[in-house]
Point group: C2
């Protein structure tokens, strides 16, 4: 059964109640829709603001099938739904986008690397690691330190270890986690190419951005990537568009890239709205959240033009103690009336992504300083020293 | 009792479940809030998308007091809550913004005109009309045809009659409605000055816009008003800011203006987000919906800068028959990928405001054409002949 809204518009279901669902719901409202959210709990970020919330587990086939039953299309706020359960929804006749076949490349780092290697896309040297001998051989060939990654389940720096030696790697090797080793690339910086693609095959790319990480967590995104040559920007966008097509992605695809002295290398893929695209809410004519909805509904995609020469997003991470966000917001708005603040309604815990701030401007250094000062102030209650 | 959200942020209640509440909820999400909506029914525009919906009547003191009980501040999506019920909420200790004392100037056209006359603000000649003799005297002095208006309850052209003679006015005069007569001003065009003001007294103005009406309903808003001299724009903004202060408005104040050969005249006031400000969602750095929330929460106000040289909003009115909006949206997005569409989730009825489209551009004629073509197509399923 397909339930349609008052305007006879489709119902889109998103599995997961995090901030990506929350911001997708915000975009859905403009399109006359109301996102249907499968949330773990009623206090999940998206469950606090959406009308059509189903509480259930994304690892329960029963819950997923019941959730999909009212939806024109089912899409995802995260990669953690087991592939066999996505295939069960598909087998039951539901439209799931991205499909299980596409999504496995964002769910399994080894599957992704093997596929990209096969496609001739630039990636760092890697190998599946099962034994100490596998790792020793990889280290002998590509040098130490190297990067060990869990093939599945990692995020925000979790599931990634930089190891200096076999001894250093022993606890991870013995943990039973499926692993891959990757050459520790001498990178200059990280970039992201975010695109969207519809079932019809139409695709659109936003300008390539620079992403800045701290302890494996993205803390800042600068659009467009400063000083990136047009040639390299086109190369990154072309690569992302090609991967979207080859992997048959529908929705937003974020391609995380390393920029090295020798060129670009693909780091990770995400097939959903992504932290590196939050700046598009105010910074582009079509946000990644609206675009994701347009894509999964097979509407033609929207213009991705920038709305300002420089757009900078800084993540707001939870700080220590009771933040009194209401008071800090008050003072921040007084200090910078042009800053755009997004709070996710999440309980504040140290290091947790609880919101982001976006600054738009003409000057790179000034715009970066404004965005980072805003996030720093909301986190700590103190203005950064200039 | 004041209920606060997961981030310990305030709960804002909005009385009325129309599209203004719907779009205010959209803005609330970014601020970490979830609007609490008092709706007539679960299928109201805002009730379809908000999480915290209370179904009740805005003319029931019991319902209003129960609704206000969970809110840090109560505000409005329309002017139809009787003054004595707003005062009852205030008497019970609730923060209501705008206050009953301010809001009566947007609820009662006669009270508004008497106050503005007293303040020396420019308004068309008017008089309270109780008898045929009152009307005859006004007609003798200011000429026929003249405008008769219901002092309360009118909207979108309802409650406004242009009458040629006493005979013509007889049905209205005999209807028992409280009336005022107003000189039929030889206007050149209509403008709107939209501002916001906080309890602290801070105020901010958006650029003055031109509004185009058809059959008493706003069909198009052009920002900034084409060809308006800077002097007159400042006069209009200054007037709106002065009225916001004099009437102690908190939240958004829209001042509808007539531009005549002799200058500006105030037509009507609205103390809430207003149709003449919908363009601000994409067209200004701070939308009227975010600004209204910031104002009633006494946060410092946001920047009102334009995001494009020309911004045009065209209202989408319901057309005849079954529109198949999903299909039309598909084709519209293919035709103009830069158009921003807002659908309100309302049942389609002829002439009803069911959404709006916004175009941003550099060229006035082209941007107007795009916005109007989009609204026309969604309404009729046909492209306008160029």
């Amino acid at each position: 059964m397909t339930v349609r809204g008052a305007m006879d518009l489709p119902v889109v279901g998103m599995v997961g109640g995090g901030q990506l669902s929350r911001m997708t719901h915000q975009a859905a409202i403009a399109l006359g829709l109301s996102l249907r959210v499968l949330a773990d709990a009623t206090h999940d970020s998206a469950a606090l603001v959406a009308n059509n919330v189903v509480v259930g587990s994304h690892t329960s086939e029963k819950d997923l099938l019941a959730f999909a039953d009212g939806c024109e299309v089912v899409t995802f706020d995260h990669e953690h739904v087991p592939g066999e359960l996505i295939r069960a929804m598909e087998a039951a006749g539901h439209t799931v986008l991205p499909s299980s076949a596409a999504l496995r490349h964002a769910q399994d780092k080894l599957v992704m690397r093997e596929r990209l290697h096969h496609l001739g896309a630039p990636i760092p040297p890697f190998a599946a690691i099962t034994t100490k001998e596998d790792l020793e051989a990889f280290g002998d060939e590509h040098g130490w330190p190297l990067v060990l990654k869990a093939a599945t389940g990692g995020y925000d720096g979790k599931g990634v270890w930089i190891v200096d030696s076999l001894d250093d790697a022993a606890p991870v090797l013995g943990s039973g986690v499926r692993l891959l080793a990757e050459h520790k690339v001498p990178l200059q910086r990280e970039l992201a190419a975010v695109v969207a693609r519809s079932p019809y095959g139409q695709a659109a790319a936003w300008p390539v951005v620079e992403t800045v990480q701290s302890d494996g967590i993205c803390v800042e995104v600068v659009a467009p990537a400063p000083g990136l040559s047009e040639e390299r920007a086109l190369e990154a966008q072309g690569l992302a568009l090609r991967l979207a097509q080859e992997l048959d992605v529908v929705g937003v695809l974020a391609v995380e890239l390393f920029e090295t002295a020798d060129g670009l290398l693909v780091n990770e893929l995400a097939m959903r709205p992504h932290n590196s695209g939050h700046w598009t809410i105010e910074g582009a004519r079509t946000s990644q959240f609206e675009q994701h909805l347009r894509a999964v509904l097979d509407y033609p995609l929207g213009t991705t033009t920038l709305t300002a020469p420089v757009v900078v997003m800084a993540n707001l991470l939870g700080g220590a103690g009771d933040p009194d966000l209401d008071k800090r917001l008050h003072l921040l708005f007084a200090k910078d009336p042009a800053l755009k603040v997004h709070l996710y309604g999440k309980e504040v815990r140290p290091g947790r992504k609880i919101g982001h701030v976006t600054a738009l401007g003409n000057d790179l250094a000034e715009t970066r300083a404004r965005a980072n000062a805003g996030a720093h102030y909301l986190r700590t209650g103190e203005w950064p020293t200039p």
